[in-house]
């Protein structure tokens, strides 16, 4: 047992810190730190900076232009970029589609798409959920019917995050209605410029439109855009889900959230002294901090096991549930800490270019919005109910 990093790992961490100090634009990290909305070009700028250093394909092997890092290195990377308030890597191309193509894609698909993901030629989005199929993915109904060299796609996807920026979408579509629901699903790549594709924004509680509906009406997709065999899309989907679980605990986000919470509670005064000195509030903050200290170790135990090649068990589901609950608790405490200035709702003030003075302290609106927005954490990526089901099935074996 040893809780400390090796010398090599510490050297790696220091190299990362140096890189971030040099290359992460200050304007960008300030936006992230203040909880402002990022533009498409913010993300593209950051991707290009990472790619120039060879560090965009964090989970990719070197042969495809990735880092080749092990699980511990990837963990250190996540810790450092989050602590530095770097933007997140947009996951759809790099972390989701990339691994699926490497595993199931044809040589032509790999050669065409993988470089374009890294160099920013393509912005991918994800076409999984449907209005009738949320946690119950297998019941999806978007249909792809073979017609010569094409599939003709009809249907509707929803909760497509950042779909408004994407030029391509990877989709689960139904190519057969025979057998179990899972058996007739295929994994298809679709160019968003194809006639019949329409993106409609979904406005969320916090006023932001980062998720979308994507509609398909008689969209003709070349058959070479099929990944893996027809009707074998479920295999790709499951494989992708395990990759989506990288950094599922969100330790870095939780740490950043906790630090922001402490700053807010130090600035807010209640009864003539900083809120952070109020015994009840201090106890609540300490409680999430203690939970986070333990969860960070739970996470490292999983990372270490993965670095030794162990297959992920129900641990990732445990990390998902506890990690999202913890982040939501931190968000709720921050909202509480803000006090009466949680009420003003000047949504435009979240746009960095808006030149609008915030109402009250500048942390008030982002903290309040984060509370509402992060209710999604326990819903998406496999809801916490689905995760509890996985945990209990694995342990109870019923």
């Amino acid at each position: 047992m040893d809780l400390t990093y090796t010398k090599a790992q510490i050297a790696f961490r220091d190299e990362l810190r140096g890189f971030l100090a040099d290359k992460l634009p200050q304007a960008l990290s300030e936006k992230v730190a203040r909880g402002l909305r990022l533009t498409k070009s913010d993300y593209e700028t950051w991707h290009a900076i990472l790619n120039a250093r060879g560090w965009l394909g964090v989970t990719w092997p070197r042969e495809h232009g990735g880092t080749g890092w092990d699980a511990v290195q990837r963990h250190i990377f996540e810790e450092e970029v989050t602590a530095a308030h770097a933007p997140r890597i947009v996951p759809f191309g790099v972390n989701m589609l990339g691994p699926v193509l490497m595993k199931f894609g044809s040589d032509a698909q790999k050669a065409l798409y993988l470089p374009r993901i890294l160099n920013g030629d393509d912005w991918w989005c994800q076409g999984y959920s449907e209005p009738g199929a949320g946690s119950d993915l297998a019941s999806l109904r978007t249909e792809a019917v073979r017609d010569g060299d094409h599939y003709v796609v009809n249907g509707q996807k929803t909760w497509t995050t950042l779909g408004q920026y994407a030029n391509r979408i990877f989709c689960l579509v139904r190519t057969s209605k025979e057998g179990k629901p899972q058996q007739g699903i295929s994994f298809l790549l679709i160019d968003m410029d194809t006639p019949g594709v329409e993106v409609r924004p979904i406005v969320l509680l916090d006023g932001e439109a980062e998720v979308n509906e994507v509609w398909f009406q008689d969209v003709r997709v070349p058959v070479e855009n099929l990944v893996g065999p027809e009707n074998a899309g479920w295999t790709c989907a499951k494989y992708l889900l395990t990759h989506e679980r990288t950094n599922i605990a969100g330790i870095g986000f939780a740490r950043a959230g906790l630090a922001a919470l402490k700053r807010i509670a130090s600035a807010e005064m209640q009864g003539g002294r900083p809120l952070i000195e109020n015994p009840l509030f201090a106890a609540k903050v300490a409680q999430v901090e203690i939970d986070l200290m333990a969860m960070a170790t739970t996470n490292l135990r999983t990372v270490a096991a993965a670095a030794e090649g162990q297959a992920p068990g129900p641990e990732s589901s445990m990390l998902k549930v506890k990690g999202t609950i913890l982040r939501q608790q931190i968000n709720a405490l921050a909202r509480q800490a803000v006090g009466p200035y949680a009420q003003p709702f000047v949504s435009e003030a979240l746009e960095a270019g808006a030149n609008l003075d915030p109402v009250g302290p500048d942390y008030a609106l982002p903290a309040t919005q984060a509370y509402f927005n992060n209710r999604k954490l326990s819903i998406y990526g496999g809801s916490n109910e689905v995760q509890r089901q996985i945990i209990s099935k694995t342990i109870l074996e019923l």
């Binding site: 009738g132 009840l280 609540k284 709720a332 009466p340 200035y341 709702f345």
Partner: protein
């Protein structure tokens, strides 16, 4: 002991519920944040015709209600509808203060539907009633009042404001607070929309006022402010209860109809049991609101004990209801265009006015120890 409503209140409840169900639409709710006044003037006029502001005021002061359970009946219905109105600020809060000053002329205007806002809290005062930095100085020709007031609800719609200011004492002293009637054009505002609908404003006062702007004897306002806020808290908690009931209805409907894995999600026992716990806490919230509304006229220690107990319980129940209802709805619960989103935000904001759950938990302890 009697938990049934009187015949009059049941009639008011029925007619109000019917009117709101017929009249309130998502578009009209949205209009309350877009309209410069921060509410829907047409709906407000019709609610005034129904007698809502008058129902907040006692007969002795020219109204026809004013009891705690009048507040409960009306605000529970407004909560169900999710409709922002100036009723709490103008009729309960400002109206409550005016009733203590003997200014029945102003109260009559409030009953007619004119809006008077109460500008009291300041940046940094948080939930502390006595923390007022705004100063009023006596001049030969009257008063000079100067200061900044924070998140003043109903201010954008107001024809006048009651402004609290310090005529003596240091910033958090209990003595030395006074109330002034300030015309709308004597202040400057930055107004903005609120989470949960309606608008409020930051109000800047730097005005010279006539001598009769002083609404009650100099330096004695705190007790009256506390009484008015007790009534406003009762109204707000009743509104929260109505919001919970509306969210409950939406969520139960959703659990019955939404299908996943081949059956309504309400068939999943894990959700059933959690929903049962939500229902229990909504019943607890109803009892807490009854307790508070039944003690509006009690002596201060008992009344304020109920203020803090109820605000604490309602704050906790509100968070549970909001978080569980969104979780059970999944993604749709987070979208702006589905009714839940507005109700959930409005319910969440209850904890950010008149003191949050923890503030009142500690206050309950302090009141008991005192």
């Amino acid at each position: 002991m009697e938990f049934r409503l009187t015949e009059e209140r049941r009639m008011l409840q029925d007619s109000l519920r019917r009117f709101l169900a017929e009249s309130v639409t998502p578009a009209r709710i949205a209009a309350t944040t877009d309209d410069a006044a921060g509410h829907d003037p047409d709906l407000w006029r019709r609610l005034t015709d129904l007698g809502l502001p008058g129902a907040m005021v006692s007969e002795a002061r020219g109204g026809f209600g004013g009891d705690g359970f009048d507040l409960m009946v009306v605000f529970e219905e407004l909560g169900r509808a999710g409709l922002p109105t100036p009723l709490l600020d103008s009729a309960v809060l400002a109206g409550g203060l005016l009733a203590e000053t003997g200014r029945d002329d102003l109260l009559a205007r409030v009953i007619e539907g004119q809006v008077i806002a109460f500008a009291h809290a300041e940046p940094g005062s948080r939930y502390d009633l006595s923390r007022v930095a705004t100063r009023a100085q006596r001049r030969a020709d009257g008063w000079h009042v100067a200061g900044h007031k924070a998140v003043v609800h109903a201010a954008p719609a107001a024809e006048a404001l009651i402004v609290s200011a310090r005529t003596g004492g240091a910033v958090a002293d209990e003595d030395g607070l006074s109330l002034f009637l300030v015309p709308r054009d004597a202040v400057t505002m930055r107004d903005y929309p609120l989470q949960g609908g309606g608008r409020a404003a930051e109000v800047h006062v730097d005005a010279t006022l006539p001598a009769d702007a002083l609404l009650m004897p100099e330096g004695t306002a705190l007790a009256a402010i506390e009484r008015a806020q007790a009534r406003a808290t009762a109204a707000q908690c009743a509104e929260a209860l109505g919001l919970m009931e509306a969210i409950k209805t939406l969520t139960v409907d959703y659990l019955r109809t939404r299908k996943q894995f081949g059956q309504p999600i309400g068939k999943f026992q894990a959700l059933q049991h959690r929903m049962a716990d939500v229902l229990i806490e909504i019943e607890q919230a109803r009892s807490a609101v009854i307790n508070l509304c039944g003690h509006m006229d009690a002596e201060r220690p008992l009344r304020e004990r109920h203020v803090s107990a109820t605000k604490n319980l309602v704050g906790r129940a509100a968070r549970l209801v909001v978080e569980e209802s969104i979780q059970m709805h999944g993604g749709i619960g987070m979208t702006r265009d589905y009714a839940l989103g507005h109700l959930a935000k409005r319910l969440t904001m209850v904890d950010h006015r008149f003191g949050d759950a923890d503030f009142h938990l500690e206050r309950f302890v302090a009141l008991g120890a005192a």
